[in-house]
C-alpha cells in the first residue's frame, strides 16, 4: 500500500481493556497523536465530482495519563533536535502501524464475507509482517474497530492454533431479502434447524430434521424457488459455516450421525432466542415447552 497518503487514527473511543496497559507501542501512539494533531491531514482519494475537504475526524480518545510520562522539552538546542528526530520517527511508526490496522481490518472484513476462519499466523504473514512485535496492538485495534463500526466479533475458536472466526455480534436475524441472489443468507431455515436441534435435546439425526420440517409445514409454504437445495444447505453449507456440527454418534454400530449446534451458533444466538422464535412460528408460547424453557433459562444464567 502506498505510504504517502496521510492516515488518521481510527476514530474510536479508547478500549477499556487497553487503558490499563502502558506498553511501549501505546506511548508511541500517544506521542504521535499529539504530533498528528498539529499537522493538516488530507485524504488522497479520487472522487469524480465530489470535493473532498481535508479534515481530520473528531478524536474521541486522548489518554493524557500516558502523555504525562513523556519528558518535557529541554531548553538545550541539541536536545531539541533529538526530540524532533524522535517525534519524526515516532510519527512515521504511528502512520505505519495505522496502515497495518486498516489492512488487517480490510482483510478480516473479507474473511467475514467469505465466512472463513483465520489464524494468527495467517494474519501475521499476510498483513503484519515486519511489525510482528506490534501484533498485539494491531490485533486489538482491529478487533475493536470491527466491533464498534461493523458489529462483528472475533471469537477464538482454537486456542492452540490460535484460529479465529468472525461472527455478527448482533444475533442472527433474517436479512429480509428474498434470496433470489445466489447463495444468499438462509437464516430462517437455519433458525428453524437450530430450534429443532434444541427441542430434540441438543442432538438430532437428519431424518428427524426432515420429519420435523414437514410437521411444521416448513417446506410446504415456502416458495420452492427459495428452498432450492435444502439438503445441501443443511448438511454442507451450515456445517461449513460453523453453525452446525455433524458428527458420528459415539459408540454407534452401525455408525449413525447426528447434528448439534456449532460454535458459530453459540456465538451468534442463544437458546432462549431460538425457543422464542420457534414458539412464534408454531404459534405457541415458549412456556408451553416447560423443560425447554427451563433449559433456555439456565443457559441465559450461565452466559451472564
Amino acid at each position: 500500500m502506498d505510504v504517502s497518503h496521510n492516515i488518521h487514527h481510527c476514530n474510536l473511543p479508547a478500549s477499556p481493556g487497553a487503558q490499563g496497559e502502558v506498553n511501549n507501542a501505546q506511548i508511541i501512539m500517544a506521542v504521535a497523536e499529539k504530533e498528528e494533531a498539529s499537522t493538516t491531514t488530507s485524504k488522497n482519494v479520487y472522487d469524480s465530482g465530489t470535493p473532498c475537504s481535508p479534515q481530520s475526524p473528531q478524536r474521541a480518545c486522548s489518554p493524557p495519563m500516558i502523555m504525562g510520562s513523556i519528558p518535557e522539552y529541554p531548553s538545550d538546542e541539541a536536545s531539541c533536535n533529538q526530540i524532533e528526530e524522535l517525534e519524526d520517527t515516532v510519527s512515521l511508526l504511528h502512520r505505519a502501524l495505522n496502515i497495518k490496522v486498516f489492512d488487517l481490518v480490510h482483510f478480516l472484513l473479507f474473511k467475514y464475507e467469505m465466512k472463513d476462519f483465520t489464524t494468527k499466523s495467517e494474519m501475521l504473514e499476510s498483513i503484519v509482517r515486519e511489525y510482528e512485535e506490534y501484533y498485539p496492538v494491531i490485533f486489538s485495534e482491529a478487533s475493536e474497530c470491527l466491533r464498534l463500526v461493523f458489529g462483528i466479533d472475533m471469537i477464538e475458536v482454537d486456542p492452540f492454533v490460535q484460529s479465529y472466526t468472525l461472527v455478527t455480534a448482533l444475533g442472527i436475524t433474517y436479512d429480509g431479502m428474498l434470496s433470489d441472489a445466489q447463495g444468499k443468507p438462509k437464516t430462517d431455515l437455519l433458525i428453524v434447524i437450530l430450534g429443532i436441534i434444541f427441542m430434540q435435546g441438543n442432538c438430532v439425526s437428519l431424518e428427524m430434521i426432515w420429519r420435523m420440517l414437514n410437521n411444521i409445514g416448513f417446506c410446504d409454504w415456502r416458495d420452492p424457488f427459495l428452498c432450492e437445495n435444502p439438503r445441501k444447505i443443511i448438511t454442507e453449507d451450515f456445517v461449513q459455516e460453523g453453525y452446525l456440527v455433524y458428527r458420528q454418534v459415539p459408540d454407534s454400530d452401525p455408525p449413525s450421525h447426528e447434528f448439534l449446534w456449532g460454535p458459530r451458533a453459540f456465538a451468534e444466538t442463544t437458546k432462549m432466542k431460538v425457543l422464542e422464535f420457534f414458539a412464534s412460528i408454531t404459534k405457541s408460547d415458549p412456556r408451553s415447552y416447560p423443560e425447554k424453557y427451563a433449559a433456555a433459562l439456565r443457559d441465559e444464567l450461565d452466559r451472564a
Binding site: C10, S48, H106, G151, G176, D223
Partner: protein
C-alpha cells in the same frame, strides 16, 4: 487537539447490521438498499423513524472515512439503475478480488479488463479473451476452464455477459475506477457529461466525444433535435429513456403478484 468542522457520525446496531448485510450481498440496487435499511430498523430500533437514505449512508460513511472504506453509489452503464457497494478507497488494485480467486484467475480477469478498456464498444469477445489463456501467470489453464472462470466472474458480479461478449459490471467500475484510470491512462475513456470512467456508451461520429447511455438520456431528455455538446453536430444515435424508479416498481409489483408473495417477516 484540533477541532474539525465535520463530526464523525455515531454507529448504532441499525447501521452495523446494515453494513454487515450490504457486505454479504456485495452490490445492491437502490430499492434493495431501501428495503435493507427498513429491515435493519425493524430489527434493531423498531420505534425510530427511518432516516432518509442519503443521510443514513452519509452518516455511516463519515465513520468509515478513517478506514478508507466507503459506501459508494453508482449507476449501471446500460440502463441507469442506481447501485450501491462497499468499496475500499485506499487499495488501488484488484485486491478486493485477490483473496477470492487464484493467481491465474486474477490474471485472466486482468487480461479481460485490458481488452474491455481497449475496445471501441466496451465489450471483449469470449474468443479474444480465451486466446490469451496461454499468457496467464500461475498454473496453466485450459480454455474450457477459463470459460468457467469467466462464468464465476459473472456470478460474482465482476463481469456482465451479453451474447458471448463481456463487459464490466457496475460493481467492478465502482470498485476499480481509480485503478483503471491509473493503469490504463491512454486507453481509458471518459464521459463528456459526468467525467467519470466510461466503458459502454455512445460517441459522436464527428468529434469522438463519448457519453454514458444514462447521461445521454438525461442530457437530451427534452430535446427534439439532439446535438453533440462539443461540436454541435447532429447526434446520430437513439436516445435512451431516463431510468424511472416508479415505473420499475410498478413493473416489479405486477411481476411478483403472479408468483404469490410469501415474505418472511421477522
Amino acid at each position: 487537539m484540533q477541532g474539525s468542522s465535520r463530526r464523525a457520525g455515531t454507529m448504532t446496531d441499525v447501521h452495523r447490521r446494515f453494513l454487515q448485510l450490504l457486505m454479504t450481498h456485495g452490490v445492491l440496487e437502490e430499492w434493495e438498499v431501501r428495503r435493507l435499511q427498513n429491515h435493519c430498523y425493524k430489527v434493531h430500533d423498531r420505534n425510530a423513524t427511518v432516516d432518509k437514505l442519503e443521510d443514513f449512508i452519509n452518516n455511516i460513511n463519515s465513520v468509515l472515512e478513517s478506514l478508507y472504506i466507503e459506501i459508494k453509489k453508482g449507476i449501471t452503464e446500460d440502463d441507469g439503475r442506481p447501485i450501491y457497494a462497499l468499496v475500499n478507497l485506499a487499495t488501488t488494485s484488484v485486491s478486493k478480488m485477490a483473496t477470492d480467486f487464484a493467481e491465474n484467475e486474477l490474471d485472466l480477469f486482468r487480461k479481460a479488463l485490458e481488452l474491455i478498456v481497449d475496445s471501441e464498444t466496451g465489450f471483449a469477445s469470449s474468443t479474444n479473451i480465451l486466446n490469451l489463456v496461454d499468457q496467464l501467470k500461475g498454473k496453466k489453464m485450459r480454455k474450457k476452464e477459463a470459460e468457467q472462470v469467466l462464468q464465476k466472474f459473472v456470478q460474482s458480479k465482476w463481469l456482465i455477459e451479453k451474447e458471448g461478449e463481456f463487459t464490466l459490471h457496475g460493481r467492478a467500475i465502482l470498485e476499480m475506477e481509480q485503478f483503471i484510470r491509473e493503469t490504463y491512462p491512454d486507453a481509458v475513456k471518459i464521459c463528456n457529461i459526468c467525467h467519470s470512467l466510461l466503458i459502454q456508451g455512445q460517441s459522436c461520429e464527428t468529434c469522438g466525444i463519448r457519453m454514458h447511455l444514462p447521461c445521454v438520456a438525461k442530457y437530451f431528455q427534452s430535446t427534439s433535435e439532439p446535438r453533440c455538446p462539443h461540436c454541435n453536430d447532429f447526434w446520430p444515435h437513439d436516445i435512451p429513456e431516463v431510468f424511472d424508479p416508479e415505473k420499475e416498481r410498478e413493473a416489479g409489483i405486477s411481476k411478483s403478484s403472479r408468483k404469490s408473495l410469501r415474505t418472511r417477516q421477522h
